[in-house]
Subunit: 317 residues, 2 copies
Amino acid sequence: MIGCASTTQPVDPLPSWNEGESKQSIIAFVESVTTEGSPDFVEPAERIATFDNDGTLWGEQPLYFQLLFAIDRVKELASEHPEWKTEEPFASLLKGDTKAALAGGEHAILDLVMSTHGNMTTEEFEQLVIDWMATARHPTTERPYTEMIYQPMLEVLHYLRANGFKTYIVSGGGIEFMRPWTERVYGIPPEQVVGSSVKTTLEMRDGEPVLLRLPEMNFIDDKEGKPVAINQHIGRRPIASFGNSDGDLQMLQWTMAGQGPRFALFVHHTDAEREWAYDRHSHIGGFDKGLDEANGKGWTVVDMKRDWKVVFPFDNK
Amino acid sequence: MIGCASTTQPVDPLPSWNEGESKQSIIAFVESVTTEGSPDFVEPAERIATFDNDGTLWGEQPLYFQLLFAIDRVKELASEHPEWKTEEPFASLLKGDTKAALAGGEHAILDLVMSTHGNMTTEEFEQLVIDWMATARHPTTERPYTEMIYQPMLEVLHYLRANGFKTYIVSGGGIEFMRPWTERVYGIPPEQVVGSSVKTTLEMRDGEPVLLRLPEMNFIDDKEGKPVAINQHIGRRPIASFGNSDGDLQMLQWTMAGQGPRFALFVHHTDAEREWAYDRHSHIGGFDKGLDEANGKGWTVVDMKRDWKVVFPFDNK
């Protein structure tokens, strides 16, 4: 069919989206804020769009990918930590029982992250992330994690940027876990990545300053934390926000509470065949209050199974 | 002389700078990192430049301008705080004795800032700053504070941006005190302003989310804090940094410790006639260790009196 398209036919900015309300809502919003003379026109400087990462731009099952990174680190570091043979959550993990390890909930997760993400320089951590991303494979698809990204959302990122938007990630994931690869994978540079963080401190080593990552949380960029972090990092209220879970609800509320045209979108994971299907009762990516509020207020809720022609870029091949 | 310049003469990017080593060092650096094929060429994405604000981009005498804002707020709020008549530092301030009020040092300053910058929404604070900037006048020049900016540094900002740099402020001043006016005055958008901050918390008011500023410090962006904040906000190491005091030394050290071409510049306040002259023993803008290190390492030290044709934009008129 190449070459048959009429030259007057506009190029579809979202080719991986099926025609329907979701796709139409995105295009209608972008056209309204970029049409000069329109009452909804927004100056380019104010075109800020914020995206959650886990479950919105890439997958988050069977576990947050950063948690799978932490688990791999525990296995690598085990020989230096004989005490982990008896201490939870490490003992269960090292026996291969991830479920038992994570039964300790947030406390267990925090232990895992702090013991594997701290006590090194920011540059050492960056290299660990780069190496892991290059070699680790997802447990079910056997793909690199940086391929487990949503093709339709990549198109939204490109479409927004082509229309003068600045696209930001605002994620519960670690800011320094994302920055080494978001520019290559999403076209989002490090300075437009906001996330959770550990405390860092400046230290001199052999006369050179290094930033040391402490095993101590600095900020958790989730729920109420997301508007706080948006204000701290960006200093402008987004006019469009994209999420998939209750952890993103406050970000979308904050976005929609501003003056002028606004857009809020949730990705609803409805496709057990091509991806995963989960919502109200999921431990990861729980989507309950957010779903009700989006339905009540008429925000866009993407039905992944219905709205997306493909999920991952490799589905196209 | 207008009209006499040869068309082959390149436009001077820094017309308010006298010819000399300082001006030449800036131009040589920019040319080296932007010349394609040069061994020092730096990709535009990595061209990050960070600027201190107080004493580097605008004045800081006889007191930090933000402190003058806090003092004005104390006077406005005094009727709601009868207890301030006897409590320091408020009592001395209300009697007009600023020196006695500030004799309490950092603790007194923190009291002043917390009691005047917290307990309101981010939008209410923004409006206070906008109103103050529009009406307040500097005690000696009687100019609006946003005119007390350094014309030669504005030219550096423009010159860097014209050469593909992203320019950031990294200041000990309050991030939300600067953001309402930096875009208009310096061409630096809110998302490129990094500073000290109070804690904020998300609250619902009449069903709408607001960010409430708490009377509690979140982060002090000075000395060792500057590289920490650069890492947190920008996630890349600057290749050029500009400061004027020991509070900026760690930022310049962090910048210079990276790989590849680097540039560090201190503004030295040497002009008692057109501005102020102060350095090693000044309570505000103390410049002692930084001066020694800059001299020892051959960093650029701008002698304001010698190097600048004009100081403020209004000197031109």
